[in-house]
Amino acid sequence: MIKFSNVQLGYGRKPVLTALNFDIQRGDFFGIVGPNGAGKTTLLKAILGLLKPLQGEISFPENGRGQKKSIGYVPQHASIDEIFPITALDMVLMGRYAKMGIFKRPKSCDYELAEKMLKNVGMENLANRNYRELSGGQKQRTLIARAMVGEPDTLILDEPVEGMDIQGERAIMELIKALHNEYALTVVLVSHDLNIVANYVKTLSIIHNNTLKLGPVDSMLNEETLARVYGTKVKIVNISGQKTIIPKLNE
């Protein structure tokens, strides 16, 4: 679905990531992890089309609707400026703007779809609440609804549970999983939280030494690989079918 062919990414002439050759398959739940400064944001920007490759090609094959790509982007909720006086419903409606076309105003069908998406993310009772008055989790749900209202094929999320408590983290990840299943969405998720990524994604990609290694999550998540990537020994334990990654403090 999204194909990287011998891609080199970077800023100016300085490469950050090199020799990127991989596909993100339709319907995959794709996680990107790596240490701080490894290039997670750089890769995310390239997938979003915000950063052109220094070398190689990133291709987005056409979907059934004749569009080259259809991406719903969920930024970190903290990146949205809170001085903007806008309701949750209007925030979601903004995700329809590109679909409406130039000169057009939102119609009743756009409002209906925005309300439906707010309902899907459990925010129907807060549609008329100002975005800035919402909690972190509610803001994240609103931004997910905004990304979904454009009826994307691919949902891309940047640190979706950043700054949330355990309950909030779980609720947001369960929501993303439900949307992934319900809409047969391709989900690409960037996170620094290995415990979150380990228990939800199907394909795991790890950025290390300026390139990307990827595979099924079970084969990628092993103690040797993580120790090499993060420079610290870790233990992976399985508690009731849930993987937990713990750093070994004394080694």
């Binding site: 982007y73 400026d81 903007f84 006086p85 806008i86 903004m94 995700g95 703007y97 590109a98 939102p106």
Partner: protein, 270 residues
């Protein structure tokens, strides 16, 4: 008041110019404050003043020269450079001080010298002619039509530039269009209203609106109302107390802002 009304005939064009500048700049101030580009608008206003200074010493028509320099400033300041080595803020700050120095250097050799610096800072009501008003009306109509037609594009690039780009909106183009409408508003008002008043109208009405309203539509309504009321009240006060007009309008805007703060306090409490 009677005295003022009797002399209204002499001021009618100046008042019309002030009201038109208040109308368009107060409207655009909402985007400027929300997009956090106050410093860009200040720098562009200064570049526009430099354009007027060139027109003054060369004897060319100030409006097209100012328009040209304003658009040049807009084009330069709207480019998004990587901030890894130099912040955009410092780049805009440099543009502001260089434009300020250039303006002073240009007018210092003119015969009128300090009076022209005064004109650039505080405006010159004597240049408010029927032709100037028709020109302003035409440009303001274009600005409002553009904003009516492309409201959703302008709000999208103001709120979340990256989301706008990834969703398929031509974000860079619409951001440049937004900046151009701001530049056009600056250049039509700079000659009559001056640097100080334009800058004020591009910031304070929106601050007032954002303090009082919780919806975009209401912020626009409050900002424009406050801008026009301040222009008219400030003009009357400057006549009554024999003060310069621009600082009087700025003081009125600030007084209204101070008066709205208790309203904000009680509103939040309730």
């Amino acid at each position: 008041m009677n005295d003022f009304l009797i002399n209204l005939e002499f001021f009618k064009y100046s008042i019309a110019c002030s009201v038109l500048v208040a109308l368009v700049c107060s409207f655009l101030s909402v985007y400027i404050v929300l997009k956090r580009i106050v410093f860009v608008s200040v720098a562009v206003t200064q570049v526009s003043s430099a354009g007027i200074a060139i027109a003054l010493i060369t004897g060319l028509n100030p409006t097209p020269i100012s328009l040209f320099f304003t658009f040049l400033g807009v084009a330069i300041f709207s480019i998004r450079f990587s901030e890894r080595k130099l912040s955009n803020e410092s780049r805009i700050g440099m543009g502001f001080v260089v434009a300020s120095a250039a303006t002073i250097l240009l007018v210092s050799k003119s015969a009128k010298g300090i009076h022209e610096i005064d004109d650039l800072l505080f405006g010159n009501v004597l240049v408010s002619t029927p032709y100037q008003i028709y020109l302003m009306l035409g440009i303001i109509a274009c600005i409002f039509i553009t904003h009516f037609l492309f409201y959703k594009e302008f709000t999208a690039v103001t709120l979340d530039f990256e989301m706008a780009r990834t969703s398929g909106i031509r974000a860079r183009f619409w951001e440049l269009m937004l900046y151009l409408t701001i530049g056009a508003a600056i250049s039509i008002g700079i000659r009559t209203s001056g640097n100080l008043l334009i800058t004020t109208f591009l910031i304070m009405p929106a601050v007032n609106g954002l303090l009082l309203a919780n919806r975009m539509k209401n912020v626009f309504i409050i900002a424009v109302t406050v801008g026009i009321v301040s222009a008219l009240t400030g003009f009357y006060l400057s006549y009554y107390f024999d003060f310069p007009t621009s600082p009087c309008i700025v003081a009125t805007l600030f007084a209204i802002l101070c008066l709205t703060l208790p309203f904000r306090f009680f509103y939040r409490k309730s």
